[in-house]
Symmetry: C2
Subunit: 479 residues, 2 copies
Amino acid sequence: MNLPREIRYRAYSDWTKDEMIKIKDNVKRSPWRVSYHIEPKTGLLNDPNGFSFFNGKYTLFYQNWPFGAAHGLKEWVHTESDDLVHFHVTGAELLPDTKRDSHGAYSGSAYEIEGNLFLLYIGNVRNENWERDTLQIGAWMDKNYNITKGENVLIHPPADVTDHFRDPQIFNYEGQLYAIVGAQNLEKSGFIKLYKATDNNVETWEEVGNLDFDGTGSEYMIECPNLVFVDQKPVLIYCPQGLDKSELNYGNIYPNTFKICQSLDIEKVKLVGASEIQNLDYGFEAYATQGFNTPDGRALIVSWIGLPDINYPTDKYDYHGAMSLVKELSMKDGKLYQYQVEAITSLRASSEQFTAKAETNNTYELELTFPPNQKLELLLFSDSKGNGLSLIVDTKEGKIILNRSKAGIQYATDFGTIRECSIDTKETIANIFVDNSIIEIFINKGEKVFTSRVFPEKHQNGIQIKSGEPTGKYFELKY
Amino acid sequence: MNLPREIRYRAYSDWTKDEMIKIKDNVKRSPWRVSYHIEPKTGLLNDPNGFSFFNGKYTLFYQNWPFGAAHGLKEWVHTESDDLVHFHVTGAELLPDTKRDSHGAYSGSAYEIEGNLFLLYIGNVRNENWERDTLQIGAWMDKNYNITKGENVLIHPPADVTDHFRDPQIFNYEGQLYAIVGAQNLEKSGFIKLYKATDNNVETWEEVGNLDFDGTGSEYMIECPNLVFVDQKPVLIYCPQGLDKSELNYGNIYPNTFKICQSLDIEKVKLVGASEIQNLDYGFEAYATQGFNTPDGRALIVSWIGLPDINYPTDKYDYHGAMSLVKELSMKDGKLYQYQVEAITSLRASSEQFTAKAETNNTYELELTFPPNQKLELLLFSDSKGNGLSLIVDTKEGKIILNRSKAGIQYATDFGTIRECSIDTKETIANIFVDNSIIEIFINKGEKVFTSRVFPEKHQNGIQIKSGEPTGKYFELKY
């Protein structure tokens, strides 16, 4: 939703209690609040930030403008989890409250150092002519959730970038701390800058160079670059806005992609042996994915279920966006797999054999097997009139097709209503998570993933089997 | 090593400073101390205990008699880790210092409850006629490592067990806390008792029944039962002492085994759909494996590298036993995999192409590929006279053979000097971890595992390629 600038950049302290009550009441009216995903209490949620392991728990912040469904003056909101499934808001917030982040505490990452969590993020600053400066700044959070901001700008935009220079990700490679930053160069192509913490002091950074990942530069900006290590291989996850579609077939307004590499050569500032670019998610919305390696070496990712520059049906209820389930990355036969963490099964409140259902509470998991050499179709969020979200699993042609043209309230239809991907022509397993207005589909234990929103109308809560005979289980989920 | 009872059960306070200095000096003389495994500072280490996630870190205790290489008056020694690779001793100990554990704080498990760690363990008690009582008792450890013991015996041996009744493992199943205990019945067969914490209060336990896991009862005692959940399936890991070899082919004095089950039916006290019994490890020593599920649902295990009733070459240096690397369990095509945690790669100090080597520091990892349809042989811990530990990877016949008949100091030869297992006849990957006097071999990313000790003589530190041409990498490891 587009709101006037003076509303979007109004100081937090200027919002009255009465206004906040109204916003909260409006949120409550929504028929689409989710149960086991993170969504904002009020306002707009976008990128995951500072996803990390701190003080023995998983930490995940999210970008939030709390006053409506628009991209306004952003803060970070802190959540914490023991099991990567149940996250709770701790009350800690990184506010846009200094002259170095006067127009937004924008996205960044976090890393635990000697018992405190270091946050490396973007201070978004506008001058009176509304010209932008993007400053890389730091803050520390202690174990009691007190946040103290640093006094200095840690990285100023270098000479070879425009004002699109953001999303620093801090990571450890062989005992040295590095950061990569998404950027646009003066020719308006996307690229990634690599920095290094001098003597591992995260308050002093030096440029290493422009990271060579065998990209073509057909995108105009790279957002949210992440380097994680999976089975010892560097995996670059990034959002190349405007990527030429001859390079990669993608349906959403902006793609969310990855490359599997063979090694990282710091001296050459190069990801050696980078694969072709691939889609990370085949659904209608999963963006700004953030990943990190845990102290014991696992690679975890989480995404914003939402996209920039898109309006959502929840906007009128003064909120927008949600966080995806956390996925653990693994490598199998050279392919990247994303699977939901084991603890997600703790949500299962009851279990029964899968059959069609006239009504559900739209809060369930299906674990289904699709036999080889068949074309099967399910209708989820279905009603008695034949509306619903169509999922075709075609093990004959080797295809998955998700069609939301008849599913609930329509939006973002400029970008099509069908998403698909290819699969092997053999027995296929799907774990499908439905959460009121979110669907996440894991094909063959994370070989392919579809993340999407669906905004069903009243009574669109059935499951129909349009063709074929998938078998498996239906689990009611309870947070 | 067998020592007189009066030495083994001498009170901890009776050991003088001078005696401890002598023991420590003797340990220092050993040429076989390891670098990246846990071993006791002094004395005998046996079972892993209380393996758990507590206060944001991994906790692992080990059984220890600190005064020599014998099974004496045991305590628990606490270690802690952020990454499952680097463990450090915190100083916390569960001592045999009450009348309920007067003859040993024997094995048990741990579970975090509301910010404290609950330890459920065996108080070993002997009366003046040296008759044994095994009491299930409890203790609490707080975040400052203070241990407070409970006043009550939580579970007395029931009427249907002999004095072999031990190794309680506490676990959470669908929100309810249970414990399983290894036992011998009055007919001298092994079995497992299932208990339940009444109202989830871990200081009150009620018997549920004898756990049916489709066993034959050919063993005379079951030690160290563990139930962990892997990919939602219960996996029972246990040590059935005296198991009939017609039931399972095993080489060591006591087997270390598992069954994969389909579900746990509490009402019927039954593990439904239990598989055949299988060896957990194919090496010369891996015993008393302990496992648990992390808060986010992963299943981790660790084993004692050692066996009961066996003397080791280190015994004369007043120590004995080590802890294996931690392994994460997963399920692939219905088979159980055990793989080292990703963070183990942080030990890699340098990397080179694999070739034969006249000398190494015996502290390295090999990551090797063995082509299909060939029989290859490596000699590790080798010397110029052709001695060494032989590893044959036969991708023609589908076999792995480990032969230590010419490897270092010989011991436990009554139980043979060869261990083997079958593999598929295709390209095979091995990750081999050598640590001075320990070798751990992971075949095909944990499909099969060999854990063993080797006590090389001086200059037995080479790597020879006896036949074939395996390719891969050599990593020097540094803790």
